[in-house]
């Protein structure tokens, strides 16, 4: 566990950031920005969450980071190298794996085949790997259902497939886009338990969530996105006790 994970408050300018987003503007229609100069950063080993309501621009930000949307202005660097202009496949190859909103599993492939697809862009190529074992250790339920078609699984199990598939890419940064969306409370708990276990293993995670209470529990730091701008940021614990955040996002 590195220093930044233990004391996220001590982050200073000269500390190397794994992901650094500075002042990005993103639009779907020319001239109409959806993100108005968003800046955030994630250090290695950190879990950072991005809170925001529907339409705040959370998924837009994730899509821009994945190379699905062009960035009009600003800079995105990963481990010091610019990600701008890279295609989605190049970004995955650079070490960023994404669990997309709405899961998007390959429903007519088996669980094992879905996981194998996750290893697609690994340089070593496709082949037997200790990662199957590690992923099945994390998700025993998937080990039981490895030969079942992913489309026949429940929503929670499909979310596990999507997360396990992302881990198969051996990413250095995991982007999770609303992993709890549309799941029953018990399954949401399970998904956040898993995020916690990823974090304990030292995985760097950027988590986008509407479920602010659960997200702030697993995160080290948090950003709040409103109408395309970051309006708050800080330690998860301090945001959790902030009256304004409690009123707007935690329903206290």
């Amino acid at each position: 566990m590195n220093a930044s994970h233990l004391s996220p408050a001590s982050i200073t300018i000269d500390e190397p950031k794994l992901l650094a987003v500075s002042g990005i503007r993103v639009s779907y229609v020319a001239g109409v920005d959806v993100l108005h100069g968003v800046s955030l950063d994630v250090s290695a080993g950190e879990v950072v969450c991005l809170l925001g309501r529907n339409g705040a621009g959370k998924t837009t930000l994730i899509n821009a980071l994945c190379g699905l949307l062009p960035v009009n202005a600003g800079q995105v660097t990963f481990d010091g190298k610019s990600l701008l202009g890279l295609k989605p496949s190049g970004i995955v190859a650079a070490g960023i794996a994404v669990v997309p909103e709405g899961r998007r599993v390959f429903s007519n492939l088996t669980v094992a085949e879905n996981l194998a697809m996750g290893a697609y862009s690994r340089r070593t190529g496709f082949g037997p790997s200790w990662h199957f074992e590690r992923v099945y250790d994390l998700f025993p339920r998937l080990a039981e259902r490895r030969d079942q078609l992913a489309g026949t699984l429940s929503g929670g199990e499909q979310q596990m497939v999507a997360m396990a598939r992302a881990m198969m890419a051996q990413p250095r940064l995991l982007l999770l886009d609303e992993p709890s969306m549309g799941l029953a409370p018990l399954l949401i708990e399970l998904i956040f338990d898993t995020i916690n276990r990823f974090a304990k293993e030292g995985m760097t995670i950027l988590l986008v969530e509407q479920n602010a209470a659960a997200a702030l529990d697993v995160a080290d730091r948090a950003y709040v996105l409103e109408r395309g701008s970051i309006v708050r940021s800080g330690l998860a614990a301090s945001l959790e006790s902030d009256p304004e955040i409690q009123r707007s996002y935690l329903g206290v």
């Binding site: 989605p88 094992a112 996750g118 037997p128 199957f132 992302a166």
Partner: protein
């Protein structure tokens, strides 16, 4: 120590299903190829003629299956690429006197180039791509019918040259069938091999869910180009044989109706299944020959067949066969 044993066991489980699928596909390959080589040649006569037609459309359907069944890129203009291959091959033979192996390769390359052009022009996905391929097919048919100086227009091309391979003249139907069966065997084998490799997995991923394919790092646009080009190239190779069977070449062999027939072939045979493409081609070529008295109802029969197969056999004949053999195995336990 214990952990390594556990790991290797789990790996075996994960890859056992993949290898058994691989083995099954090659067993089916062996069965289909042996039927292909034995039945038309031993029965001869009319059956040989049927075999010639089935082999051509089976090759073409394999190309369409790769595009549509595996990678989900539905093309409504497949026959146009057969036409491009047919005209390229015959015109090169007639005007330049090139040997058939060269013109066959040229047919594949020209159709591939046209396919690549289509894929580049039509950078659309979903239903827009499908509709645009339909338009592309019609444009090609119009060019073949109206560019009289090059293609002879709607009157067609007569005097199809005899196939000559390395100085050996293929004058008999048996010889032509051997050429076609060799081509079909080769392409079918290559596609089975491809479908189990990295490229085949990428095709299947795109066919199932483009967004998910992108999220695991598959370069979707590149693989779409590759699969469309490949499918069209195979159609071109199939097309190169057609004039030698018909001894005549006309644009009317490459209408949208023929494209639709190719689609019905892979649907009835089983979408996504390579053997299904061959079985579907056989059904749609052989059945009308035995129902000549009802020729005017052919279109109606195809439509009914398509609807019936979608309701009764949603995974086609090949899918039903696979389900049957699975059920047998379960009962045998």
């Amino acid at each position: 120590m214990l952990r390594t044993a556990k790991e290797s066991l789990s790996q075996q489980n994960d890859f056992a299903s993949a290898t058994s699928q691989n083995r099954n596909d090659w067993i089916v390959f062996a069965v289909i190829v042996s039927i292909l080589w034995s039945v038309p040649l031993s029965l001869g006569g009319f059956y040989l003629y049927l075999g010639l037609a089935v082999a051509i459309y089976a090759i073409s359907a394999l190309g369409l299956q790769t595009m549509v069944g595996l990678a989900g890129q539905l093309s409504l203009g497949h026959a146009a690429f057969m036409g491009i291959g047919a005209y390229t091959s015959v015109l090169l033979q007639k005007t330049l006197g090139l040997p058939f192996l060269v013109t066959l390769a040229a047919a594949g390359l020209t159709a591939a180039a046209a396919g690549l052009l289509m894929a580049q022009l039509i950078r659309l996905s979903g239903v827009y791509f499908k509709i645009a391929t339909f338009g592309f097919g019609i444009v090609v048919h119009q060019i073949l019918s109206n560019w009289t100086a090059l293609t002879g227009g709607s009157a067609g091309v007569r005097g199809i040259p005899v196939i000559s391979i390395i100085g050996f003249q293929v004058e008999t139907r048996t010889g032509l069938f051997v050429c076609e069966a060799l081509t079909l065997t080769l392409i079918y084998g290559l596609l089975v091999r491809l479908s189990h490799g990295k490229i085949g997995r990428a095709f299947r991923a795109i066919g199932q869910n483009e967004a998910a394919a992108r999220s695991v790092g598959i370069p979707v646009p590149r693989y779409r180009m590759i699969v469309i080009t490949l499918g069209c190239a195979i159609a071109g190779i199939a097309g190169a044989y057609l004039p030698h069977l018909m001894r005549f070449l006309s644009p009317e062999s490459f209408t949208w109706y023929e494209s639709l027939t190719c689609l019905i072939m892979i649907t009835v045979g089983g979408l996504g299944s390579l053997p299904g493409a061959i079985i579907g081609a056989a059904v749609l070529i052989v059945a009308p020959e035995y129902l000549r008295d009802f020729a005017q109802y052919k279109m109606l029969a195809f439509g009914v067949l398509l609807v019936a197969s979608m309701i009764l056999l949603p995974k086609g004949i090949a899918g039903a066969g696979a389900a049957l053999s699975r059920r047998k195995r379960i009962h045998a336990r």
